[in-house]
Symmetry: C2
Subunit: 331 residues, 2 copies
């Protein structure tokens, strides 16, 4: 698997997954173009690209305006389509904004893409959230789609665009339904970006962690390097027999267990309190991913344990803390 | 089942289903408000409401702007949410327009509605198109959702909004997945509105009918009065155990058989020709509906045969032809 000399486009390339991909791709010798308009609240951070800033091209534009940057992306062979708002909470507060960012922008982007780069390979970052409340665990790809928040509805519509255009031969997309991801470059300063960001932020600050409910619900967190790896593998394949795959973590852990691991690292404590209003309605209970299909299709499986990944993540943020948690935002 | 004195809102009330509902409701003594901005191409026709025009209120507004008409809809007990673009062809030509009409407008509408009329009963017109290519026939409600056109993706997202807000107790919606509907007030002058409109138009004009392919694929057409009936029944129920139901026709007929029936009525012939480019990709083959769930839940079943319904439909259009097929548009 070599990306050396390959022209790749990363949407949302200033964000968590996108920037990790862009850094890895640039280091592997790919010709990387990033498109990202740094929408507030979506996790864009220019520092994320610092290690490779001189090697890549950044188009500061909404992905839906890509048509204006036609010459910059002509000849792109692989698109890592990572742009979007991931916050379930924000989507409930402002569904119209979520529709615009996660569906309308994606539609305009794909309509431009199919013209500028017909048949292009696309890896789209979808989310476990489309499944809603699990009917069984671990969740495989035939589990019914039944999102219980606007974010899930809108991300699912965008995934459906990818599926439709792939079925019609206009692009060649694979949709990865991703579980909770953590690691370097995650947006620690955006409370709406999920429970893991909260835990890491508190650990870094040495502050106590808060868990809603008893913390017994579990997740299968996956370390960012594992996700970068699966994206890169998927990017080299083409016309796969199925265009939708789950990608989850190596192990299922309770929220309480994850918090305790991080509290130990950070020298703080875990506190439990009732669900605040609005959170309970979009809580899905426990979640774990059945990775057997993607293992069979792509030969991928996650490798990094949570305790190992957590340690690496904290090491990164301790080194670069001022770029993620400016002193003025703490407390 | 009495609607006498009840305040009802009909979105898309100038269109095919909406106007038939509004006429029936007004005749039954309901206090009817119609909201419809007469978007070109969506089938709005002021003449559709002629029989009850003096009895109803028409808000000439996009449904997404409903918030501006707050006082006009306060106190509404039942909403028949029929607004939308139904053309699969148009959605492929202009997906962005389809997203706006079928998803964004619905989102803004529902966000206003949940505030103005909390808990309101809503009947939403979804479509069999969300199922895509049938994996088995007849199709029941557990058939996977896999739309193969933008229209299906966008209507499904709007249905998901209804489901989400119902699950959260903000409205009380039932989603009816409707098959091919025909009858008085259908938009005969809009070629993109489907094969039945084409057949009826040609029959009325005494022109030959065109069938793409061999015409052996079948549908289960349902007469508009049957659909009005099921909407009215559903409107009187509340908090049903399942919020999604199919509503299909009394019989499955091949396209060729339907065309022959209409050609006989119209004194014309049926001609067969290959699928034009763009049509084949969104053809779903045959379709028929399993009505057993809705029969069990609502006690409804369709009553009107295609030959009977076709006869009634042609009689209506012969009487009011100038309002549906102005001389300048024929040929």
């Amino acid at each position: 698997m070599s990306y050396s000399g390959k022209r790749v486009l990363v949407t949302g390339g200033l964000g968590f997954i996108g920037s990790n991909l862009a850094v890895r791709l640039a280091r592997d010798g790919a010709i990387v173009t990033v498109v990202d308009s740094a929408v507030p609240g979506c996790g864009a951070n220019e520092f994320n690209l610092a290690p490779v800033r001189s090697q890549i091209t950044w188009i500061n534009s909404a992905i839906g305006d890509l048509d204006r940057h036609r010459t910059a992306i002509e000849g792109t062979g692989i698109v890592f389509n990572m742009a979007g708002e991931i916050s379930h909470i924000n989507s409930m507060r402002d569904p119209v904004r979520d529709l615009e960012l996660n569906t309308a922008e994606q539609l305009r982007f794909l309509l431009a893409l199919r013209q500028i780069c017909p048949g292009v390979r696309v890896i789209y970052a979808s989310t476990r959230q489309v499944y809603g409340v699990p009917q069984y665990l671990p969740i495989n790809e035939i589990h019914p789609v039944n999102p219980i928040d606007f974010n899930g509805i809108h991300k699912h519509a965008a995934a459906s665009y990818h599926r439709l255009l792939t079925a019609n031969g206009e692009i060649d997309a694979t949709i990865l339904r991703l579980t909770n991801i953590y690691g370097p470059r995650m947006a620690l300063n955006i409370p709406e970006q999920g429970v893991l960001g909260h835990f890491f932020r508190r650990a870094l600050l040495g502050e106590d962690m808060e868990i809603f409910g008893d913390g017994r619900q579990f997740r299968d967190p996956v370390y960012i390097d594992d996700i970068v790896e699966v994206c890169l593998i998927a990017g080299t394949r083409s016309r796969l027999p199925s265009n939708t795959m789950n990608a989850g973590g190596i192990e299922a852990l309770s929220l309480a267990a994850m918090a305790e691991i991080l509290a130990n690292e950070g020298g703080s404590r875990v506190r439990y309190r009732p669900f605040p209003e609005g959170h309970k309605a979009i809580d899905i209970g426990s979640f774990s991913t059945d990775n057997s299909f993607i293992r069979e299709q792509l030969g991928w499986q996650p490798k990094v344990s949570f305790s190992d990944g957590a340690h690496r993540t904290l090491a990164y943020f301790r080194e670069h803390r001022e770029h993620y948690l400016p002193r003025t935002t703490s407390r």
